[in-house]
C-alpha cells in the first residue's frame, strides 16, 4: 500500500486497554495510540509516517486514468456489525467503491471516518479495521485519510463509518440514467435480496435459521469487464437500499420510459423467496450490496450477459426485462402466475405482516 509522500518512519502507538472510553476521543495520547493501533497499522502497515491532516495526490498520476474525477461519500450503520458474508467494515469499503464504479470510474482512494460509541471493545474495532484493509487491498484501493470520534454511550449505535471515495472516469465513458431508451434490455448481475435477508436473519429476532449470506462485494472489476464487452451500456445502478424495485422506478422516471420485467426471470435464491414468503416481505425491495442493475442497448445484450457471466460476481446474471415506450415512469411486472402488476416505490420500511 503506498502512502503519497516518502517516509520519515515513526513508531506506532499501541492501545493496551480493552474498551474504548471518552478519553480516546480527547485528542491526546490515548487517541493517537488508538488510531495507530487500530487504523494506521491496518491501513498502512509497514509504512507509518508522520501524519498530515490531508492526503495529497499527484494530479498527473490521476489524469493518467481518465479525464474526469468521480467523488462520492456514504455512511454505514448496520445492526449486527458482523453478519454472514461480511461486516460493517467490508460494507463501508465495498459500498463506496461500488458508488464510484457504477459511474464507470476506476476507484482509487478512500477516506474512513468513524464515530465510536464508548464501551466498544478495541478488539472488535481491530477486526473491523482489518476487514476494511483486506477489502480495500483486494480491490486495489488505498485508504489514505481518516478521522476518529468517540461519543457517549447511547449517542450512537456501537460504530458508524463514513467512507468517501475518489476515482477517475476513463475518457469516452458516458453512463447516464437519462440515456435509457425503449428496447433496452434490463440486466442484473445475480441473485437478488441476499443482503437484506441475511441481515434480517442475523438480527436473530426472526427465530429463523437460514444459511443466507450477504452478497457484499466490490464490483468495479465486473463493471470494467461489462463496459469492455458492451461499451454502449446506458447506465448502471447498484440496487442497495430499496432493492431492485426502487432502482427500476428511478430508471423509468429519469428516462421517461416504461419498464416491464418478468418475475420468472429474476434470479433469486429459493431460501430468500421462502424467507420473504414466511415474513410477508416483498423480495423486490430487499437490499443488496453486490448487485447492479444495467440498461443495455439491444445489440449489446448478448455480449453484456456473456461478459457478466464470465466473472465470478456475475455468474447468475440475467436479462430480466426491457425498457419500453409505455406510460413514462411506470414499472410493471409480468408475475410468475401470468398476471401483471405495478411495481411501485416502497413507502417507508418493509414491516413483516402479522398473518
Amino acid at each position: 500500500m503506498n502512502m503519497q509522500s516518502p517516509p520519515p518512519k515513526r513508531e506506532l502507538g499501541q492501545c493496551f486497554v480493552a474498551t474504548v472510553t471518552l478519553a480516546h476521543g480527547g485528542g491526546g495520547k490515548a487517541m493517537k495510540d488508538l488510531i495507530d493501533d487500530v487504523f494506521i497499522s491496518a491501513f498502512a502497515p509497514g509504512a507509518p509516517q508522520a501524519l498530515e491532516d490531508q492526503a495529497r495526490f499527484d494530479l498527473g498520476a490521476l489524469a493518467s486514468h481518465g479525464d474526469r474525477l468521480a467523488f462520492t461519500t456514504d455512511s454505514f450503520v448496520v445492526n449486527p456489525l458482523f453478519f454472514p458474508g461480511g461486516d460493517i467494515g467490508k460494507l463501508a469499503v465495498c459500498g463506496t467503491i461500488n458508488d464510484l464504479a457504477v459511474g464507470g470510474a476506476k476507484p482509487l482512494y478512500l477516506s474512513c471516518a468513524v464515530v465510536i460509541e464508548e464501551g466498544m471493545e478495541v478488539e472488535t474495532l481491530r477486526t473491523i479495521a482489518r476487514s476494511m484493509a483486506q477489502t480495500a487491498h483486494a480491490a486495489g484501493v488505498s485508504i489514505v485519510t481518516g478521522d476518529t470520534k468517540v461519543v457517549e454511550r447511547g449517542a450512537c449505535d456501537k460504530i458508524f463509518i463514513t467512507t468517501t471515495g475518489i476515482g477517475v472516469i476513463p475518457r469516452g465513458c458516458e453512463l447516464g440514467i437519462e440515456r435509457i431508451a425503449p428496447g433496452d434490455g434490463i440486466l442484473v448481475n445475480g441473485l437478488l435480496g441476499d443482503h437484506g435477508a441475511a441481515i434480517l436473519c442475523a438480527r436473530g429476532d426472526m427465530a429463523l435459521e437460514t444459511a443466507i449470506e450477504s452478497d457484499c462485494a466490490a464490483l468495479h472489476g465486473l463493471i470494467a469487464d461489462l463496459l469492455h464487452a458492451a461499451p454502449n451500456t446506458r447506465c448502471i445502478r447498484d440496487a442497495t437500499r430499496g432493492g431492485l424495485a426502487t432502482v427500476l422506478n428511478e430508471m423509468a422516471e429519469a428516462s421517461n420510459c416504461s419498464i416491464e420485467i418478468d418475475e420468472a426471470a429474476i434470479p433469486q435464491r429459493p431460501e430468500v423467496r421462502g424467507f420473504c414468503e414466511i415474513l410477508g416481505l416483498d423480495p423486490l425491495y430487499l437490499a443488496n450490496e453486490g448487485k447492479i442493475v444495467m440498461a443495455v442497448p439491444p445489440d449489446e445484450i448478448e455480449a453484456a450477459l456473456a461478459a457478466l457471466r464470465a466473472h465470478p460476481l456475475g455468474r447468475d446474471a440475467a436479462l430480466i426485462g426491457h425498457a419500453g415506450a409505455g406510460e413514462a415512469g411506470r414499472v410493471t411486472m409480468q408475475t410468475v402466475f401470468g398476471g401483471r402488476r405495478i411495481v411501485d416505490m416502497l413507502v417507508g420500511e418493509q414491516l413483516p405482516r402479522i398473518c
Binding site: 401470468g338 402488476r341 402479522i354 398473518c355
Partner: protein, 378 residues
C-alpha cells in the same frame, strides 16, 4: 418452495381462467350489474395484487376487498391507547411489525418509538413472554391483534404466563372475530355481493360450520380459500359454479389445511381465556355487536386494560373517509374522494390505506392496471 410452486403454475391458471370466462359469460346474461365476489381476508387481497389476478379475470367479475386486514380495521382510539401504555415509565410494549405504522389520532407506534417509548417488534406473543422473563423489573405488554388466526397463540401465551407465575406480562387485547362482521356487511341495505371467498387461516381454527348462516339465511355462496394464486382462482371458479347452478353452500377449497371442524385444541384455549365483548369498534365499519373479545375475569392479572388505566377514548373516523363504502363494495378504492390525495400510504387517512393488505393501499401500490383499463375517460 417446490410445494408452493405447484400452486403458481401459469398453464393451470390459463385453464382455470378459460373456465371462469365461460361461467361468467353465462351468468352475465340478463344481468346489468357485474358479479361481485368479496374476499374477506387480507391475505387474499395480498395474493390478488401480488400476482396481478384482477387483470386476468373477465371484466364482468368484480372483486370486493373485504374487512379481513386486522391492522386496517383497528380504530384510532385503540392505537392511542396503545401509545399511552407504551409511553408509561417502565413499560416494554411489544407488537407485530405491521401494526407499528397504523396512525393514531396524534401518532403511530413507530413515531412513539422514535420519541423514546420502548416499542419492540416481535413475531409471536411467546417472544413477548420471553422478553418479560428476561426483564422482571419491567412491565411487558403484548399488543394482541388479529382474527381467530392469532387469537389462540395469544391465549396460549397467557396460559403459559399463568403456569410460570410470570406477573410482569399482560396483553392489550384487540382480537376480533370475523363472523359477526360478515353478518354486519350482509345486513347493510345497499349491498350487492354475489358470493364470498372465505378466510383460509381463520377457518383453520374455527372450521367451516360458523359460516353456514351465510348460505342458509342470506343465500350467498362461500368458498373457504387458500392463499396461493391458483387457490384463489379455483375458489372464484367454485363460487361462480354455485351461482350458475343456483346453489348457495359453504364449500372448502382449502381442505388440505382447513378441517371442517376446526382445531379443537386452539378453540379450547380461546374459550378458556376470552369472552365476547358486547361490541367492538371497527375503523370504517363502526361498532359491531359481539365482534371483539377480551380476557375473562379469571385472567384479569394479564389484561392490560384492567392493569393500566387507559384513556379508552372514541375517536371518530375522519369525515371525508369512505372506507365503509369501499369495504362493502359500494365504491372502488379510487372512487373515494381522498384516494391518492389526502389519503396515501405515507399519510393514511383511512384504515384501508394502512397495511399492504388494505384494499386502498394495495391499489395505490400495485393496482392501477385494471383501473386504467376500466376507467371511463372524464
Amino acid at each position: 418452495m417446490k410445494y408452493a410452486d405447484e400452486f403458481r403454475d401459469r398453464e393451470k391458471a390459463q385453464v382455470l381462467i378459460r373456465e371462469i370466462d365461460k361461467l361468467a359469460a353465462s351468468i352475465r346474461v340478463g344481468r346489468t350489474r357485474p358479479i361481485q365476489i368479496m374476499e374477506v381476508c387480507g391475505g387474499h387481497t395480498h395474493s390478488i395484487f401480488r400476482y396481478g389476478l384482477e387483470g386476468m379475470l373477465p371484466e364482468s367479475i368484480e372483486l370486493v376487498h373485504g374487512p379481513g386486514c386486522p391492522v386496517c380495521v383497528l380504530p384510532m382510539g385503540r392505537v392511542d391507547d396503545c401509545i399511552s401504555i407504551a409511553e408509561r415509565e417502565g413499560v416494554i410494549f411489544t407488537t407485530f411489525g405491521d401494526a407499528m405504522r397504523v396512525p393514531g389520532s396524534k401518532k403511530s407506534l413507530l413515531q412513539a418509538k422514535a420519541t423514546g417509548a420502548d416499542v419492540r417488534m416481535v413475531y409471536s406473543p411467546m417472544d413477548a413472554l420471553t422478553i418479560a422473563r428476561k426483564n422482571p423489573d419491567r412491565e411487558v405488554v403484548f399488543f394482541g391483534l388479529g382474527f381467530e388466526t392469532t387469537m389462540p397463540s395469544t391465549a396460549l401465551t397467557v396460559l403459559q404466563a399463568e403456569a410460570e407465575g410470570i406477573r410482569n406480562f399482560s396483553v392489550f387485547c384487540n382480537h376480533i372475530t370475523i363472523v359477526p362482521t360478515i353478518k354486519a356487511i350482509l345486513d347493510s341495505p345497499d349491498l350487492h355481493l354475489d358470493g364470498f371467498l372465505g378466510p383460509g387461516h381463520v377457518s383453520m381454527v374455527i372450521g367451516t360450520a360458523p359460516y353456514e348462516f351465510i348460505a342458509e339465511f342470506y343465500k350467498r355462496p362461500m368458498v373457504v380459500a387458500g392463499f396461493e394464486p391458483l387457490d384463489v382462482l379455483q375458489s372464484i371458479w367454485m363460487v361462480l359454479q354455485q351461482i350458475s347452478q343456483g346453489r348457495a353452500e359453504i364449500e372448502n377449497q382449502y381442505a388440505r389445511i382447513v378441517p371442517t371442524a376446526g382445531n379443537a385444541a386452539a378453540l379450547a384455549a380461546v374459550t378458556r381465556v376470552y369472552e365476547l365483548r358486547e361490541f367492538f369498534e371497527w375503523r370504517g365499519l363502526g361498532s359491531i355487536d359481539h365482534s371483539g373479545v377480551r380476557l375473562r375475569e379469571a385472567y384479569a392479572a394479564y389484561d392490560a386494560e384492567r392493569k393500566f388505566a387507559i384513556p379508552n377514548l372514541k375517536i371518530a373516523d375522519p369525515k371525508s373517509c369512505q372506507c365503509g363504502e369501499v369495504l362493502k363494495g359500494i365504491i372502488k378504492p379510487w372512487q373515494c374522494k381522498v384516494f391518492g390525495t389526502a389519503c396515501t400510504p405515507e399519510v393514511p387517512l383511512g384504515a384501508l390505506m394502512v397495511s399492504t393488505e388494505g384494499a386502498c393501499s394495495a391499489y395505490y401500490q400495485y393496482g392501477g392496471i385494471k383501473r386504467q383499463k376500466t376507467m371511463v375517460p372524464a
